[in-house]
């Protein structure tokens, strides 16, 4: 159908699809029929109009109409073809996109929308997907993950056998079983007490961390640093919070997601492993891990409030770790300072202590999962 219900004549060239010869032609489209008249009066073709297809418009490119039988008709008459498209509902979506592509305002809006979408995806999308994936991962995989990590840490001299007396180890183990029992969720919790300064350059120092399958590692040095067992139980409850929140595994998936996004966004310009891509990824990972710390602190805070009616021991412990960190800058937790450490580990402890204080002031927060 033409623009006003009448017929529409388009001037252009015709290719019959069998040879590369271009023949000047006129294509006339009416409501029911389309007629192609090749210049020189040689031939005239007639088809029902609905058999003709209009190729999607691309800015600056002449329009093409595909004809039944493999022929095609090309024309510079964009206005005419557009009117025909509008009248017959052809290429509605892609026509709209071409309209967007022709305007600077739309281009600026698209730029803004891209940045917003990217930021939203990085801030909320990846963590949410990683969380879902972490909770969907079967327990058997978690157990394998724990085994592998412990094996790696032992072979890399990150720690050695504990030097604490067996009685002391048993005492801590029994206390941890209470914490684990409180944390629940049927994880096969086990506490590993290890010497964090076994002589290698990779020593962990005063440290505690949880693996996704329920293995919690506590170093002799942290036991020595603690003023009381309550403080240690606060730390261990915090670690069980990481386990039930599946933070370790979510971290793995988040790193994977970030790598994928960097690859897609940066394309072949910078590969995902390069320095330029690593810095923003590290900053974002730092942000994700701070969110996980807060969640684990909340779990620990609930435990402390239920058991001791105060979060003070954990706060004391955090403050002491922070002091020790500052004294032995760089050697306490990891080997050597790096840009990543500067960005991710140092800020936050005062905020965490403040958060625990608030939890205590508010009394018991929302029930555990």
């Amino acid at each position: 159908m033409g623009p006003d219900g009448g017929s529409l004549a388009l001037q252009g060239v015709y290719f019959d699809g069998r040879s590369s010869r271009d023949q000047p032609a006129t294509l006339t489209v009416a409501a029911q029929t389309a007629t192609l008249k090749v210049a020189g009066g040689a031939a005239e073709h007639r088809w029902p109009a609905h058999l003709l297809d209009v190729e999607a418009p691309v800015p600056g490119v002449r329009r093409a109409v595909t004809l039944p039988g493999g022929g095609r008709f090309e024309t510079h008459d964009d206005a005419g073809v557009s009117a025909w498209e509008r009248a017959t509902g052809r290429n509605l979506a892609l026509g709209g996109i071409r309209a967007l592509e022709s305007r600077w305002g739309a281009a600026l809006a698209a730029l803004g929308a891209s940045l917003v979408a990217l930021a939203l995806f990085l801030m909320y999308g990846i963590p949410a997907v990683a969380r879902q994936a972490a909770f969907a991962t079967p327990r058997s995989v978690l157990a394998a993950f724990d085994r592998e990590t412990i094996g790696f840490l032992e072979s890399g001299e990150f720690f050695g056998p504990s030097r604490l007396s067996l009685a002391r180890q048993a005492q801590l183990g029994a206390a941890f079983r209470e914490v684990a029992g409180w944390a629940g969720s049927n994880y096969p919790y086990r506490l590993l007490i290890r010497d964090g300064e076994a002589g290698g350059p990779n020593g962990l120092g005063a440290n505690a961390f949880a693996l996704p399958g329920g293995t919690v590692v506590l170093t002799d040095q942290l036991v020595a640093l603690a003023g009381s067992d309550r403080e240690l139980m606060g730390v261990l409850a915090h670690e069980t919070g990481h386990v039930t929140g599946r933070h370790g595994l979510a971290g793995v998936y988040q790193a994977l997601g970030l790598t994928l996004v960097t690859t897609v966004v940066a394309g072949d310009l910078i590969s995902a492993g390069t320095f330029a891509a690593a810095v923003p990824a590290a900053i974002l990972s730092g942000g994700y891990s701070r969110a996980a710390e807060t969640e684990a602190d909340e779990a620990s805070g609930r435990y402390m409030l239920e058991t001791y009616s105060t979060t003070r021991p954990l706060r004391t412990m955090l403050a002491r770790l922070e002091r020790q960190d500052r004294q032995k800058e760089g050697t306490a937790t990891t080997s050597g300072p790096s840009l990543i450490d500067l960005l991710s580990t140092h800020p936050g402890t005062p905020a965490r202590i403040e958060h625990l204080k608030r939890l205590e002031a508010d009394g018991l927060p929302a029930p555990s999962r």
Binding site: F15, D16, G17, G60, L100, L111, S114, P337
Partner: protein
């Protein structure tokens, strides 16, 4: 979308290319006509198309990606003109989307299963399958590209066989590997020959008149470039590293040495950038020089040749400066860079023919699965010309 395989399917198969008017006129008939290739796209216009497509891809969580890819290609093809007629790209985005989803699922399975010891065998099996299917994917991708390229209403085709694909992309790469790279230029030669000889426009088949020797010359030039550049850039960096090492050795990277570690970091970054630049320069040279050589040695239907007069060195400069511009503008200069590079390359290409360009006739059409195309794009294989 329109039917992706409209063409010659229901038409009778017509014969070979119409013979030139004077077939007995010898190797240089008097009527050689030159048709310059021109590119009419502009950076501003392409920028708008590009950014709108990126936004739509983000907003649709990636589902629009095939449409974005197709529109990008349509823009570049549609603005490439020879003798008053432009090229068209006719791939069906829906077909591409199916391929993308399948490949994305496989890639995700690979990435996730590689993370855990108990599932690493899955990743291993996927890698093996990918390695074994690689030549097939390359061939599929070429078929897809060719059959969706239209000029003057005629499709290109790719009729390279699976067997030859395995020779060109599996055997040669294996030989290049065990010969410590000595056979690498030969592998390039075999691959370019496979790409060129498999190509056809309508019923006119392409032939490759090139030889393996020039590929060795290209390889040696790139090697010499890398070695010389390595020495020029590497020596000062090594000197700097040695100076830093002698400055402090015991408390390696300990506290207080902020200045030293800052210098270390700077030296590392400088070294990394140097390697990156050397790699880009050498690789872009190989690509550019290969492109020039190929374009100067391809013949279509016995009546049609291309000639490339652009300089591979100039192309290296364009690539390096384009990369710098992209990094400095956080990617926003990408459309400008793409248009600049395309304009330079196409501006240096001429088509020379001893018969009018409208004398070609259709050949057999042919469906091509979009899977190869999607697989090769997502898994980052560079097979383009």
């Amino acid at each position: 979308m329109s039917d992706p395989a409209v063409s010659a399917r229901d038409e009778p198969l017509l014969g070979r290319h119409v013979q030139p008017p004077c077939p007995a006129a010898g190797p240089f008939p008097a009527t050689v006509t030159e048709y310059p290739v021109t590119f009419t796209g502009t950076a501003q216009e392409y920028f708008r198309l590009w950014i709108v497509n990126i936004a739509l891809t983000f907003v649709t969580l990636g589902l629009y990606l095939p449409w974005a890819r197709v529109r990008n290609r349509q823009y570049f093809y549609g603005h490439t003109w020879v003798d008053g007629q432009n090229f068209e790209y006719r791939a069906s985005p829906a077909a591409l989307l199916r391929g993308y989803l399948l490949v994305a699922a496989l890639f995700l399975a690979y990435a996730v299963s590689g993370q855990f010891e108990s599932t690493q065998w899955v990743a291993g099996v996927l890698v093996l399958i990918y390695g074994a299917a690689y030549p097939l994917l390359v061939r599929q991708s070429m078929r897809f590209q060719a059959v969706n390229t239209v000029h003057r209403g005629l499709r290109f085709r790719f009729h390279g066989t699976v067997g030859r694909a395995y020779v060109a992309y599996l055997v040669t790469n294996f030989v290049a590997g065990i010969s410590a790279g000595l056979a690498l230029p030969w592998a390039w030669y075999m691959q370019r020959r496979y790409q060129t000889e498999g190509l056809a426009y309508g019923a006119a088949r392409a032939t490759f008149r090139g030889d393996v020797g020039p590929f060795y010359l290209i390889g040696l030039t790139a090697l010499g470039l890398t070695l010389a550049g390595g020495v020029i850039l590497g020596v000062p960096l090594f000197a700097l590293a040695a100076a830093l090492l002698s400055g402090f050795d015991a408390g390696l990277l300990d506290s207080g040495n902020i200045l030293s570690s800052g210098l270390w970091l700077a030296a590392l970054v400088a070294g990394y950038l140097a390697v990156l630049i050397l790699y880009v320069v050498a690789w872009q040279y190989v690509r550019g020089a290969t492109m020039v050589y190929m374009l100067n040695n391809v013949e279509l239907g016995g009546v049609f040749r291309t000639r490339a007069t652009f300089s591979p060195w100039r192309l290296v400069w364009i690539s390096v400066s384009n990369s710098a511009a992209r990094v400095l503008t956080l990617g926003l200069a990408s459309p400008w860079a793409a248009v600049r590079q395309t304009r330079y390359i196409l501006g240096g290409v001429t088509v020379r023919a001893i018969a009018p360009l409208d004398d070609f006739v259709a050949g057999v059409g042919g469906e091509a699965s979009a899977f190869g195309e999607a697989a090769t794009e997502l898994l980052d294989i560079q097979v383009g010309f």
